[in-house]
Every structure is written in C-alpha cells, then in structure tokens.
C-alpha cells in the first residue's frame, strides 16, 4: 500500500485503459459523427488506396472510402450485436436456468445433459450451425450468436438457483406462503445476477468476435455496410497492395474484446473476494 495514488494506479492501469476504451467504442456506436466529419459510404476516386496519413489516419480503400470513418461507423453494428445478443441470451438463460433449477430432478437432468452437449462446442461453431438453419443475413447473425451464447448462461443461472433455493430467506418466503413464481422472480433471480453479470461482460466480447466472424464469411451484412468483419474480408483481397484496409478494423475488434475480458475478469475477482 505504499505510494498512495501511484500505487493504486499501478495495479489498475490495465483496467482503466480497458474501461476508457469501452467508453470510446460505445461513443463511436452512439454518436459516430463526433469522431469523423466524413461519410462512411462516400467514395472518392482521387483518394483510392491511400496509405495512412493525416487526412486518413487508417488510409482509404479501393473506392477511396476513409477506413477510419468506416471503422467508427462499424462500431454501432458490432457493439449493438454484442450487447443486444448478449442481453437477449442472458434473459433466456436466466428464465430456462432458473426453471431448470426449480424443476423436478428428471426434467432438470435432461435439460442439463442437452446444455452440457452444447457447451462442449465453441460458440462460433454453434452460431454457424444456427446460420445454417436460419439462413444468412444481418439480423440472423445477431440471432445466431445470441443462441450460441445461451447455454453458458443457463448453466450458471441453474447452478446459482440451486444454491439460493436452499438459503434461509427463500425457505422463509416459502414458509410465509409467497407464490412460487414470486419467490423465483423477487428472491431467487436477483441473487443469481452477479455471477451472470460477470460472464455476460466477457460474453459481449465473444459475441462481437463471433458476429464479426460470420460477417467475415459473408453470412451477415453486405457491402457497402460498414461492419468490422465485413471490412476485414474486403481487405483480404487488397492485402498485397494495402495492408491497412484489413489491419485497423481487426485492431479495434481485438482491443474491444480484450477490454471486455479485462473488465469481466476484474469483476469476477471482485465477486470472489466478497464471497
């Protein structure tokens, strides 16, 4: 505990950087025009494949569009899918997980066998199978990555429910004759939220990568939509002449995901410390 402020800062440089970066990306998603005066779709034939410079910090692509502007505008889709699909998956996971935890043993164990099988696969593979069923498209990509994220939340929600249902206050509420549904909603669910929040924070990152991967494969939004995965796949064919078109969108995806993971891990450690 020596050094006061500097000592406090030293242990938290990574965390502070991560939070700052997430704030910046969120700002890009909400108000991209703050960051760049340019139009993400505007082509400029006099500025084709320009390397990074002052006017175009991330360079330009084969039609003269500013890569920085496209990356900034891409944040809204990626972050929207990341947060939206994670939130939806969290809600479904809580409902199914809580019900499984409260259900008779037979139903619970059958449901959990299914969840375990799904959890053996990486989310990306499940999302890919979901796209095989749903068909390609930007909305279906969001749905697919959401579906892929659900099993993990079910497992945690169920495990927490099993712990909480035996606690004194749930017993007390039952004893007072509170309706089972009200017990679940008012007493059980709120107490399962902290561990779920931790994995959901990390999950936002996983979801962003999975969605960008599906878009990269051409299964999501189509050109000229500025989407991070799509920007990368557009840059694939230009790698020989213009590395920057594919490089910078990837840097931003990686930084966003690393930040979400750092924040999530920190939350987990804080939660463990308190428990």
């Amino acid at each position: 505990m020596s050094g006061g402020l500097t000592g406090w800062l030293r242990g938290r440089v990574g965390l502070i950087a991560a939070v700052l970066l997430l704030v910046v990306v969120a700002a890009m998603a909400v108000a991209p025009w703050i960051f760049t005066p340019l139009d993400p779709l505007a082509t400029d034939t006099s500025q084709v494949l320009q390397p990074p410079a002052w006017g175009h910090p991330f360079g330009t692509d084969q039609t003269g569009r500013d890569v920085f502007t496209r990356v900034v505008y891409g944040a809204s889709y990626s972050l929207g899918v990341g947060v939206g699909a994670t939130a939806a998956a969290l809600v479904v996971g809580i409902i199914v997980g809580t019900l499984a935890g409260l259900a008779p043993r037979v139903i619970d164990s059958v449901a959990m066998r299914g969840v375990e099988i799904l959890l053996a696969f990486p989310e990306f593979l499940i999302a890919l199978f979901a796209i095989a069923v749903l068909g390609p498209g930007p909305v279906n990509v969001a749905t697919a990555v959401g579906v892929a994220a659900v099993p993990a939340y079910i497992r945690v929600a169920r495990a927490e429910t099993l712990v909480v249902r035996r606690s004194g206050y749930v017993e007390a509420a039952r004893g007072l004759g509170v309706h089972p549904l009200r017990v679940a909603v008012a007493h059980i669910v709120p107490n399962t939220l902290r561990p779920l929040g931790v994995i959901a924070t990390i999950g936002i990152g996983t979801t962003i990568v999975a969605a960008a991967g599906l878009s990269f494969l051409g299964l999501g939004p189509q050109d000229p939509t500025p989407e991070w995965g799509l920007l990368l796949s557009g840059g694939r064919n230009l790698l020989g002449q213009a590395w920057w078109v594919a490089f910078f969108p990837g840097v931003l995806i990686t930084l966003t995901v690393v930040s979400a993971t750092v924040v999530g891990r920190r939350l987990r450690r804080a939660g463990e410390g308190r428990a």
């Binding site: 099988i117 053996a120 696969f121 990486p122 990306f124 593979l125 890919l128 199978f129 796209i131 095989a132 069923v133 068909g135 390609p136 990152g205 990568v209 960008a212 991967g213 990269f216 494969l217 051409g218 299964l219 995965g229 990368l232 796949s233 840059g235 694939r236 790698l239 020989g240 590395w243 594919a246 490089f247 969108p249 990837g250 995806i253 990686t254 995901v257 690393v258 993971t261 750092v262």
Partner: protein, 314 residues
C-alpha cells in the same frame, strides 16, 4: 462386466449421434424455402410438373415420419444423401475434402501444444509470466480471421516466405495452422500454467523433491501430469475450435477443405451436405470424448474404476 461397460458406452455414443442426426433433420425441415428451387437454381424456369417429379424422386412428397425413417435407415447404411448442388453423394463430398482439414487440424494442434507447453513450463519469474499472460489474453481475444490476415500480410505478401493461397505442401500449411493454433495455445497455456502453479503447492511435490527429483524430472513426471487433467477437459472445446477455425481459415487462405464445403453448403442451403457435416461433427466429438476418457485413466491412476482394476489384476 467389462463387456457390459463397453456396450453401455457404445450405446451412449450412438444415442448422441442419433440425437444430432434427429435434431439436424427436424430443424432443417423447418427451414423455409423449397429444396427443389435450390437444386434448380433461382434463375431456372422449371415447370411445376418437373418440380413435382424431382420432389417424388427425392421422396420429399412423403409424410415427414416416412422421410425421417428412410433418412435414418440410409444413415445407418452410411448413405448421407446426395448434395443438391454438386450432385455427388455427401460422403464423397466430405471424403474428398477431409484430408485437407485433417492435415490442418493436426498441424494446428501440434503447434498449439508446443507453444502452450513452452509458455507454461519454461517461462519462469513474475515479469515473464506477466508478459506471457498478456500475450495469451491477446491470442484468445483476437478474431482468428484477423490473425490470419496479419500473418498473410507479413509473411506471405511482405516477406514472401510462404504462398498466399492454396494447399500445396508443407509451406502452405504453416500460416493457416499457426492462425488456428494461436488462440488454442492461449487457452491451453492459461490452463496448463494455472495447473502447474497449483501442482507446485501439492504435497506430492515436496515429497518428490525430498526424494531428490530435479526440476526437469519434477515437471515431466509429476506436475505436468497433474496439470494435464484440467487441460484434457478442454479437448472437446479444442477440437471444436479446430473445426470452427478451419471454416474461417480455409476461407482466409483460400484452402480447400471441410470448412469450405460447410460454408458453401450453408450459403447455398445445400441441406444434405449441412446435415452430413452436423452428423460427422457429432461422430468426431463422440470419438474425441472416448479418447479423452481413456487418456484420463492413463494419466491419473486414481481414476481407475473397479472394472479396470479387475482387468488390471488379470
């Protein structure tokens, strides 16, 4: 007893494959759109009579139960149906491309194991471990397709050490394999390192040291064995990463393989191929789980069940 155990195990494996096949069948039957339209292509102007005759030929006019039963009985005989697009048996489509993906997966796994082991066993000291854990975090968080593009742009386009695309010999295998291997190595490395740190605090380490085991012997004979158990539980996940990685990486490096087949089947709604790949994946997972269980027993003698103890006694 042993026979019954083996039979139960095989039955369990068959149930999982059957479940995957059934789920694939049911879900894909719900897919909107007429498979006959997919076969003929969007532009084709086929008469309703022609479409009807194709439908009858494929058995698509039969009731769902009949379709399901004939699908299962064909699966049992190893007939996965015919690709709508390529007009080839699905087994042939998968068989032709399997080799490329197996090569890629094997090379990726080997590279990932080497990196993870080096990182976990040889890296000592607080600072070095800190740096390594940051690298692991980066490897896990980076999208695999981006890692692939960076490797391509530096080592293929920039330095010209490797070919830019294709699957022609070991040269063309290294970059794609490295792309899949890095995230896998990141996860494996984290688990192995935590396992090793955990093992170092165990009493058996003190006793091994007291018996005069040197650091190399300690790691090889004792702590690594301990750390391998949590790493093995990741085997299914890693195989999934290898397969999922193959889809992306084969596309980045323009390599042939199962991933390309899967992608084109998904984009073109070639349902028999999609179903074939799902069933194939289920079979792979079941076999991997079997191997993992056997490996557990080999690594940790405490996991011997009564039956294996009896078998061992004979």
């Amino acid at each position: 007893m042993v026979l019954r155990r083996i039979l139960a195990r095989v039955a369990g494996m068959l149930v999982v494959v059957w479940g995957a096949a059934t789920a694939a069948f049911l879900v894909l039957k719900l897919v909107p759109g007429d498979p006959v339209d997919v076969m003929l292509g969007v532009s084709a102007q086929a008469s309703p009579e022609l479409k009807q005759s194709i439908r009858a030929e494929l058995g698509l006019d039969q009731p769902l139960v009949v379709q399901y039963l004939s699908y299962l009985s064909r699966l049992v005989r190893g007939d996965f149906g015919t690709s709508y697009q390529l007009r080839l048996p699905v087994t042939e489509v998968i068989g032709q491309q399997l080799g490329y993906t197996l090569q890629l997966a094997a090379a990726s796994l080997a590279i990932a194991l080497v990196i993870a082991l080096v990182g976990a066993v040889l890296v000592h000291g607080r600072a070095a471990r800190g740096v390594f854990s940051v690298l692991e975090l980066l490897a896990i968080s980076s999208p695999p397709f981006w890692i692939g593009l960076v490797l391509l742009s530096v080592f293929a386009f920039g330095l010209g050490w490797f070919p830019v695309a294709g699957a022609d010999g070991i040269q063309s295998l290294i970059l794609p394999a490295l792309t899949i291997a890095l995230p896998v190595a990141g996860i494996l490395g984290q688990v192995l390192r935590t396992g090793l740190e955990d093992a170092e605090e165990q009493p058996f380490v003190t006793s091994a040291r007291a018996r005069g085991a040197g650091p190399a012997r300690l790691v090889l004979r004792h702590t690594l064995r301990h750390a391998a158990i949590p790493a093995l539980t990741l085997a299914g996940y890693i195989v999934g990463s290898l397969l999922g990685g193959a889809v992306v990486v084969e596309s980045v490096f323009a390599r042939p393989g199962l991933g390309r087949v899967a992608l084109s089947a998904i984009t073109n709604r070639d349902l028999p191929v999609v179903m074939g790949i799902i069933v194939f994946t289920a079979i792979v997972f079941v076999l991997v789980n079997l191997l993992v269980d056997l490996a557990y027993r080999a690594i940790d003698p405490r996991i011997h069940t009564p039956t294996t103890a009896i078998r061992g006694a004979r």
